[in-house]
Symmetry: C2
Subunit: 333 residues, 2 copies
DNA sequence: CTGAAAGCGCTAACAC
DNA sequence: GTGTTAGCGCTTTCAG
């Protein structure tokens, strides 16, 4: 900048003003001259200096439990792309589904000077000491938006209507004559898992089917957990259908069944959650609940940017409706 | 820092020295006192100030073509996790497989002050004006390591031995009696695609099978491109086996076959590339070429950090051997 | 062993 | 319309 000023024979102020388009004061001729020289010298502002001076970094933190899960991968892609067009960079952290990592990432990122954080929380965070978590989330020095979770805390979030999603899935199976419907749910404390389970319960009750806890299985949203659950699910011959809280756990069940030569697609109707791309290449394409990750990503990013730019604490709750995607894994029993 | 200095009745210098463990000079008692107070005040250095002063940011850029592709997702996870343990943050950009995006990201990230960049290049970059690309990559102001690509430029990279991988795949099929082996390759200019094709050619020649260009199909590594290619591949009834340059394109073929009720798993032997997790849940688990993404990620990250920390330009080429994972999609014809 | 002070590159309040 | 200058929070040189 100094060089530009010297070259253009103006002050640093003028250069700064012009290059930031706050050129209300500078004369047109100088303006043009400064811009020309800046371009010619291929000037790039030093972002550390800008940050130090303005106390903003134009970086946002994004924390996800597992980037390898296609559902999260989609979210990450939408968010980074969106933020990029708005002039923000994305610092990505994979928390490996661990609260400990989330916590240290949160602190680390704040001191890295991010302007705000987008948090897709782990399951674990909800099993922790909740007053500590509240403190962590509410007293964060920077704006925060939660994705794919809800909370009663004074924190913004955008989430899917999980109750509704699970209701649609369960009802679909009942409509096809199923009554012994297994449900693969997530961890006890994970709020979305609770909601999905609630949807399952609701629909059973509405259809006067008594809830049987032997049909409820508990995983952690990973393919491995589905794989682990598979033998128990498949040895219960009463079960005619499965609703899974996500596609991945169902994939795990399918993997186990394949390995043990069980014709699972012939035996069971199945509905997943997330509409991952791989649902379409299975032996029988999977019916699933689709969630509009793009909307989630842009809604959350926009909200965060608004908080950052207006410097206001906004507590807003956004809930997105899921959609039932009918393919071929459900049929009359 | 000022507060700590005041509280401890020492100078700013002392505080800085102690907190950075350059405490060769400060007395033990003061040292302890300063650390105590810093912890008590929950002191976090302002990273913008550190950056400005030291001219480093402890941030690294990571550019990938498509985070949604499980192969890249795995790389991203390994890299972010590894860099995190070394005290570096990761600025992630999804280039959407476009050279234009890569180029602007590269410039944008540099001016964001990253200390170095890890680039998993798009296919497109190799179809561009190559003198421009050379200029872009070689004259980058910061250390650069390429992943999943090779180059004759003075640029470091970590890549798989693609020739060997494709050779293993093709030979495996020949060993099982196949001779009309289709090959799904990537774009013309993408170096890895070229290498894989070369491996295919090599093995045909070695086995005295004449290369038939009608058996070579060209995709872009996306599931969609496989889907597009499927009708042409499947209508050629001579073909008894497929080698695909990645799993995803094969998934696309499988998807199309499913939709058109073609029993592809009965008709064709198939081998993919990448060993994505979903290869195991298909109707017939897929034989594939596994690439050690973790090694690639850590090798590349370590190399980059070395360049950053020693401030030396290192041009090192690392090549990793792939492994053939035998599952059930290959059988005697 | 310790501290004062210059400086990193930029912004913005202030004075002209 | 224009320029001077005081910071932003930290590191590091230099003088004691």
């Amino acid at each position: 900048m100094k060089d530009i000023a010297k070259e253009a024979k103006v002050s640093l102020t003028a250069v700064s003003l012009v290059l930031n388009d706050k050129d209300t004061r500078v004369s047109e001729s100088k303006k043009a001259e400064i811009k020309r020289i800046a371009k010619q010298m291929n000037y790039r502002p030093n972002s550390a200096a800008v940050s130090l001076s303005k106390n903003v970094s134009y970086n946002v933190a994004l924390i996800v439990p597992d980037i390898t899960n296609p559902f999260f991968a989609r979210i990450v892609r939408e968010i980074t792309t969106f933020l990029n067009t708005k002039g923000y960079g994305t610092l990505l952290v994979d928390s490996d589904n661990s609260y400990k990592n989330e916590k240290s990432a949160l602190q680390n990122l704040i001191s890295r000077g991010v302007d705000g954080v987008l948090l897709v929380p782990s399951n674990e965070i909800f099993s922790e000491n909740q007053t500590e978590v509240t403190k962590l989330l509410q007293n964060l020095a920077k704006p925060l938006v939660l994705l794919n979770a809800y909370t009663t805390r004074k924190v913004s979030y955008v989430n899917f209507d999980n109750v509704k999603g699970a209701e649609m899935a369960t009802q679909e199976l009942i409509n096809y004559g199923h009554r012994q419907i297994a449900f693969i749910r997530g961890e006890n404390n994970f709020v979305n898992a609770l909601e999905r389970y609630e949807g399952y319960e609701n629909v059973l009750k509405k259809n006067q089917i008594t809830l049987n806890q032997n049909l409820v299985f508990r995983g952690d949203y990973s393919m491995e957990s589905g794989y682990r659950l598979a033998p128990d699910i498949l040895k219960n011959r009463q079960i005619t259908a499965i609703v899974s809280s996500n596609d991945l756990m169902l994939f795990g069940v399918i993997k186990w069944a394949k390995e043990h030569q069980i014709p699972i697609f012939k035996r069971l109707s199945m509905i997943g959650f997330d509409n991952t791309p791989y649902t379409e290449i299975l032996e029988v394409p999977l019916t699933t609940i689709d969630q509009d990750t793009e909307k989630m990503a842009t809604d959350a990013s926009e909200l965060l940017l608004k908080m950052i730019q207006t410097k206001q604490k906004i507590v807003k709750k956004i809930i997105i409706d899921p959609i039932l995607i009918r393919r071929q894994s459900v049929w009359k029993r």
